[in-house]
Symmetry: C2
Subunit: 229 residues, 2 copies
DNA sequence: CCAAAAGTGTTAAAACTACACCCATGA
DNA sequence: TCATGGGTGTAGTTTTAACACTTTTGG
């Protein structure tokens, strides 16, 4: 890496795959592009990286500007660096995926996005650029990661019944899980702690609410232990 | 992502962490920098991304120019995008890790590298930029990945005795493994196939040579099965 | 009292761990 | 014949997978 840089530089952007789970299934947020190229087509939220901000900061900023979301779980996915990704100019894009709990949040349209909306993962329209590839890779990563890292909690409110957590696993992994085995496994981890609260306003027996204790989890991983399933 | 791009662009580079295993332990390749900043200090091989090449192509080119290595296993690790990584200018770097089988290969110095050399992972000198952080992350990733993807083979010649594979696992994971359990596990995967060849010129009973069958592995993963340990 | 989901144990099969000896080969 | 690593099996333990009923609550 020289401090001289005689070559023309690629543009650098971010794209963010925002996931959420609702009562039905796994959702992704898309925006309808307000400008060319691909004007009026659906795309992932994202934007260019400025010279004075980190790439991650750029992703957070784009997310806020285009969807109104902030302070969400954001993790780097992959950098897409092919030459012809963008028909108008050379753009390298650092993709992130975000996990939000959809209950209580919503999204607003912003600067160069006319519209933002949630789509079922199984019902995504045609996307601009190589965003379909980014989405697919992101989804696979989410599935893999869910199985060995405690990230399912990021798709839920702070306090949740175990059923909701199981629902997250079921819709992300796209298969049914056994209730008893699931509870046994999750409760064997002492970083999933029960609160003394219960669900409210349900038309059946109210479930106990649980919470993910990040501090306990961190201590636990330091012992070399691994979260799984 | 707009086709207009009124902002100043960060420079885009790649850095590559090249791993190899020899009889003793896990090695990383470093180059001594020929130019400022950090002239004469040790650093990861790498270089800038040109406007007309993909990021991955840039990594391969840098690798060849600086170390003489080509056609090696190369996988994207992470993109380092902090503002102050490089004291002289804003540089975002896409890091890769490479796995090579050191037997039979060597490396040459190149354009802006005065010198390239292997270092034991436990004996790495001070590094330029944030390369120590890149190296650490890369090493952790290698350890994780080795446990659930068949990449150990990339550190060996095409045909190898099982002992050599076990050695790869032991030096990368930094712990001893039981020989019988290891063989049992590995041979339970039908994509590790025995050739009818044996070691030559050894001062003891010659071991049978095995080979990783990528096609069989691909078929096998399509059934949803997972390689582990 | 009905509907809906909460909560709870056991058993069989599979996977994992720990462990030690004889064999083949070349020097 | 000796030194070196190749190659092999078993038993105890742990983990996983499959499976169904009773309890609580609100409507």
């Amino acid at each position: 890496m020289s401090h001289q840089y005689p070559y023309q530089r690629p543009a650098l952007a971010t794209d963010i795959v925002v996931f959420a789970v609702d009562a039905a299934d796994l959702k992704v947020m898309l925006i309808r592009r307000g400008i060319a190229p691909f004007e009026n087509e659906w795309a992932l939220p994202g934007g260019f990286v400025r010279i004075d901000e980190s790439v991650e900061a750029a992703a957070n900023r784009a997310l806020k500007e285009e969807t109104g979301l902030r302070d969400v779980f954001l993790e780097q996915l992959f950098t897409f660096g092919d030459v012809d990704r963008d028909p108008s100019t050379r753009v390298v894009s650092v993709a992130y995926f975000a996990l939000v709990n959809v209950a209580g949040r919503w999204c607003a349209a912003g600067t160069d996005a006319k519209q933002a909306a949630w789509f079922s993962i199984s019902d995504v329209p045609q996307l601009a650029f190589d965003h379909r590839i980014i989405l697919d890779k992101s989804y696979r990563r989410l599935q893999d990661k869910l199985r060995y890292q405690p990230i399912g909690f990021e798709l839920l409110p702070e306090k949740f019944p175990l059923r909701a957590l199981q629902h997250v696993y079921e819709v992300v992994l796209d298969r049914r899980l056994d209730k008893r085995n699931f509870r046994k496994k999750i409760l064997s981890y002492d970083f999933v702690v029960s609160t003394d609260e219960a669900e409210q306003n349900v038309a059946h027996r109210a479930a106990q609410l649980f919470r993910f204790d990040k501090k306990k989890y961190d201590r636990w991983t330091k012992k070399g232990l691994n979260f799984e399933l």
